[in-house]
Symmetry: C2
Subunit: 347 residues, 2 copies
């Protein structure tokens, strides 16, 4: 049986075991804001080659280990990765994000989706294995996936969207077919996350980036239900599950019934309220507004301290942003944030 | 003293007086989805000429009276209208929205803002007067303004934004100057709303479209405080104040201390929860997801009924969307929604 990584602060915080200080990692911590990342990206030629090449992807995953000193490494990959295996073809266009060749239009398209095969994403397993090995299992390696609703939205819109018009129209007009799609995606994600854990992931995060645009009723039915199914079905020893939803303030009470160990929230909800609602039954991750990182170090420190104070000295908090780092951020400021949290959160 | 309009359902719902049925109007009800609106827009030549020409703007304002049968008419105008008077120059670019020539960069720019003069926006008073007269005061005429935080964000970003990076950076780095700007805008908006009420507005709505991107602490300090100041300072007889914030679920408890008569909310918060929290002390407006209007009539009816049922038969609810109508929506579906709500909400 796989053992805890040497620095197991994140695992302990997730399980509400005692911790000496608050663990910190950052969403999109291996990203375009790092010159070293941009070099690797250039070597790869394009984004897909980059995340499919274990050698380059592991180097990207390790950058925050070398440059930031974070307490966990999330593998460099993309939430769309497993969709190629079920027959969805897409490309990443510069400045546009993913564009699908044949977005889902109707029931037939859902019926025609292929069976997921972990062989098609074996490179993800390689990245997890090699990352752990490269650092001699010093830090937890976090695997991840997109949540069923978020993946369904990408598959139906065919690209990112501001209003999810096509997705919601499909959901409202044909809820049975939509649920069928969510079911297929859930089954795929159970296999995918089990595969990541078998490959050595010490934790997995489920990203529900788009569910925040739903009504609370629709959130419960179309976003939360499939996630509950996934969480119930994952085989794991110690590995905590982190559940992230952007824009969750209106249905946080529902979200925290998903069965996850850690709920990752954005900055539009008060961490003190989050703590009260969790009532020692689960942990929280978050929730600095990434925009703070554009400000002065003085401001960064002030805002980081606010968050640490909101949670207090109890265990159960993993410091993170409310959303990912952005390409034009300064590595120096990001590193400063990591240092501040590590220094100021000592028990 | 001005009297209630003949159909005063909206006023009574806002004051929690008995109503025979739920009043309905829709944000952006006079808009590009109407062929008749597009004709008027073409006549005007550009968007600015359109809202500055009382003759054309009144015709636009009246379209939902003739075509939809709503219970209130919001004047056709723009939240940026008063900013020209204080020296901010901007244009509306096709497909891009407003673009400011000289966005606010520093304290000096704030210091140099001119004194607001209602003479510069006398056309807004004309539109209100002529709208009421045209329909022989049958329906309430709603005036409106943008909230200080939202206007400040436009002035600093210089255009719409997805992350409000410049605004938040300014706010974090220079909170005193930012508050000074909010103060100037609040003073302007007090004059502006008083002018609208003096011109005959039966209600005014304050649109805080962007405050939902703040943390709850920053919302309280930078968005809510100036609105409280405005609401306290408006001179009115019966005219209710409607306070709209997009993305408010994380700080709804704070929002409802603003002193407004009606809180207008988006669809990401449960109307039942809203009702409980208001606890008969104020009214609510909302909160259908506009995207529902792309679906079938059956779906529109189902989702509208859900909202009516969540509030129940008590007074205090004004039916509306959670956000504005969109250009590619069908007039037929919009009209269907209005009819359904009017029929199905009879006490």
């Amino acid at each position: 049986m796989k053992k805890y990584p040497k620095n197991d602060l994140l695992i302990r915080a997730a399980k509400r075991e005692p911790i000496e200080r608050t663990p910190i990692w950052l969403m999109r911590q291996a990203g375009r804001y790092m010159p070293e990342y941009r070099e690797l990206r250039q070597k790869a030629g394009n984004f897909k080659n980059f995340y499919k090449d274990p050698h380059l992807a592991v180097q990207a995953t390790l950058l925050p280990y070398h440059l930031l000193g974070v307490d966990a490494l999330i593998i460099f990959s993309d939430i769309l990765t497993p969709l190629e295996s079920i027959g969805m073809e897409f490309d990443f266009k510069e400045g546009e994000g993913p564009v699908f060749q044949n977005p889902i239009k109707d029931e037939k398209d859902i019926h025609n989706l292929k069976q997921f095969d972990t062989k098609d994403i074996s490179y993800v397993g390689e990245i997890i294995k090699q990352t752990g090995k490269s650092i001699d299992y010093e830090l937890p390696v976090i695997g991840f996936c997109g949540a069923p609703f978020t993946l369904a939205a990408y598959m139906i819109e065919g690209r990112t969207s501001r209003d999810f018009k096509k997705t919601k129209k499909f959901m409202y007009q044909n809820p049975t077919a939509f649920k069928n799609l969510l079911d297929k995606l859930s089954d795929m994600l159970i296999e995918y996350l089990n595969f990541q854990i078998d490959s050595g992931a010490d934790a997995v995060q489920i990203f529900d980036s788009w569910a925040g645009y739903l009504t609370p009723d629709d959130y419960r039915e179309f976003a939360l239900a499939p996630i509950k199914k996934i969480i119930t079905s994952i085989k794991r020893n110690y590995q905590p599950i982190i559940h992230f939803t952007k824009g969750v303030a209106g249905f946080f009470d529902e979200m925290i019934t998903s069965g996850a160990d850690v709920y990752s929230v954005d900055w539009m909800i008060d961490l003190k309220k989050v703590k009260q609602k969790l009532n020692t039954k689960a942990s929280a991750q978050g929730n600095l507004d990434p925009i703070v990182l554009y400000a002065s170090k003085e401001t960064i420190k002030k805002e980081a301290l606010k968050i640490l104070q909101k949670w207090g000295k109890e265990t159960g908090h993993i410091f993170n942003l409310g959303h990912g780092l952005m390409p034009d951020m300064s590595v120096e400021n990001v590193k400063f944030l990591v240092d501040v949290v590590k220094q100021e959160s000592i028990r």
